[in-house]
């Protein structure tokens, strides 16, 4: 399941290996496809450029935080600070981009903050051997407090053109997401990326085989931080402003998306495509249930049933086999 295709393998092996990695999430893929068709049927405007753009824009930040959480869970870690990181990224973007730093400077500040806080968290977790759940819980208070210090109440601004570019009527967000997924594929081909799964599944064995376990895990935290503050930047662009508590819900949603996507809590199990599909399902459900005319109470129940269904169906199959 968690075999990573190494550079030495023959190309002919690549697709069968990838197909085998999909086994656990086939049910989820089917559910996501069904929801996509249902959405397109209920709201034909989805098939227009602007309809598709708006839909992918509501999915995009959740997709990023799902990736941010998945990369940590693959190494056996977890982060409860993802929501706070999104908020921090949003307020940094909203307070710098219209100032002297400009868009490029603001984006760099957001990226450096994400990488820096992520790497620091990773260092504390990995080198000081403290539980990730405790470190990131404490971190979420510090980071959330920092966001409130930078912008005590909603405000700030994002240049209009950037908002229109990222969250206007063109599917730019989707293009960015495709690029990020390609970068992820590239990363998996680097030594650090290759170490990721090994470090998560069997850290001791990997270490004895000369895999840079600590490095891979700290790098995962840094990348996770970057993805989280990046999601914050996008949320700021999408909303045209900053809000110091906008990210709060992303922590739980990122974990939900990753788990729904078949990522195991113990590390080394699951695929990024699963996490992405999980986040897509969470986002699709909101719109589809609206168009089906569900009342909010019915939505609570339906959401739970769909999530259980998507996770349980493949398990039933396994038991039967």
């Amino acid at each position: 399941m968690s075999t990573v295709p190494s550079a030495g393998q023959a190309g002919a092996l690549y697709w069968p290996v990838q197909a085998r990695r999909n086994v656990g999430v086939r049910g989820l893929f089917a559910v996501v496809l069904a929801f996509l068709f249902a959405y397109g049927f209920l709201f034909p405007g989805l098939l227009t450029a602007s309809g598709f753009a708006k839909f992918t824009q509501s999915w995009f930040p959740l997709a990023l935080v799902a990736m941010a959480q998945a990369i940590l869970m693959l190494t056996g870690g977890i982060s409860l600070a993802i929501g706070a990181m999104v908020s921090l990224g949003a307020v940094i973007a909203a307070t710098t981009m219209t100032g002297p730093l400009g868009v490029a400077g603001g984006a760099a500040a957001v990226a450096l903050t994400g990488l820096g806080i992520g790497a620091a968290t990773g260092f504390i977790v990995v080198r000081l051997r403290l539980p990730a759940i405790v470190v990131t819980l404490a971190g979420s208070f510090i980071i959330g407090g920092a966001a409130l210090l930078i912008l005590p109440r909603p405000g700030g601004a994002i240049p209009e053109w950037l908002s229109d570019l990222l969250a206007g009527n063109t599917p730019a967000a989707f293009v960015v997401l495709v690029l990020i997924v390609l970068l992820w594929k590239l990363y998996l081909a680097t030594p650090l990326g290759l170490s990721l799964y090994a470090a998560g599944e069997n850290p001791v064995g990997a270490y004895r085989s000369g895999v840079p376990v600590d490095g891979a895990r700290i790098a995962a935290y840094a990348i996770s931080g970057l993805l989280s503050t990046g999601a914050g930047l996008f949320v700021a662009a999408q909303t045209g402003s900053g809000d110091p508590v906008i990210g709060a819900a992303f922590t739980l949603n990122s974990i939900a998306a990753a788990v729904l996507g078949g990522i195991g809590f113990l590390g080394g199990q699951g695929t990024m495509r699963g996490a992405l599909a999980g986040s897509l399902l969470l986002s699709l459900m909101i719109s589809v249930m609206f168009f089906l005319g569900f009342t909010p109470v019915a939505q609570y129940v339906a959401q739970g049933l769909i999530i259980i269904g998507a996770v349980a169906i493949p398990q039933f199959r396994k038991v039967q086999q």
Binding site: G51, K54, G155, T239, S241, D243, A248, N253, F290, P296
Partner: protein, 350 residues
Amino acid sequence: MMKSSFFASASALCLGLLLAIGAGSQANAAAKCIKGDRKAPYTIGWANIYSVPTWMKQTQGTIEAEVETLKKQGLVDKLVVTDAQGDANVQIQQIQSMIDSDVDAIILIAGSSTAPARVLADACAKGIAIINFDSLVDTDDVTAKVNTDSAQWGDQAAKFLIDAIGGKGKILILNGPAGVSVSDDRRKGADAALKAHPDVTVLAETNTPYNVAPAQEAVTSLLFANPEIDGILSLGGALSAGAVLALDKQGREQVPITGENARQFLELWKEKGLKSWATMQPNWLGAFATYTAVQALEGKDVPAFVKIPLPVIDNSNMDQYLARAADFPADGYIYSPYDEDLFKKLLAGK
């Protein structure tokens, strides 16, 4: 023959032009976001940020009641409800879905004062009437905003309390959550009165959700640290109930306290014989927002901001409120009575 038909068509053209100008000036008089191309019966979208708190359920109750009334008048045929479960991003997605399904009006309690700005601009451009109440957005791309004045709330509460403790003493201040506009605005409103009375010392401030249990917990720990407290400036009804319960559990004497129309607090007020003052965020803001949306769609001009005067409850009229307590949930809010005449007056008073 030719000439007369020419004359006829020319006069028809003139008439048409006149009508167009007339229609144009009428469109100018219409409220913001309204284009006049939407016809009754209307579909109303109610974009709630969080449906679980009792205040929200009661508010939704007034919206549903108003929709029933408007249905009977043939003005509304459907109410669509969404619940963002506290997530401002989800609320944006749900407002987008409302635009996609072409509702005629959106009434909205915003989960963030800034985040929905762009999606609301889209809705406004499509001629959807947007009435925003309670938690307001900063953008002006809405038909109307409806609210009480949070700063005035804080100011009146502070003045009452300072007066009640004789202009000097040690007080606690209980706030709602940090970073939330309503809570910030109420607190800011209290500042001027507090500054004008240097003999009033603020011992400590709390930030908790607008719920009894967390407020009770926060006040309990402050009571241990502060043996002497002369008054409590509470800027939310559930917070006041929590504070009164905390004092009671510790066996401390009740002190003057401000509050809100929470039934639990009003009952404690009566039971403990408190000296108190309360105001409210009337739940019928929801019904009023619905009414206003339909008025705007019907081509009536509505003010861009409707300020709802704060109803005041004090020792003189609290019995009238408690007399109606049975009609409200035990953990709910006893709001002041409302009817269509009140709504008409509020809309006219611009």
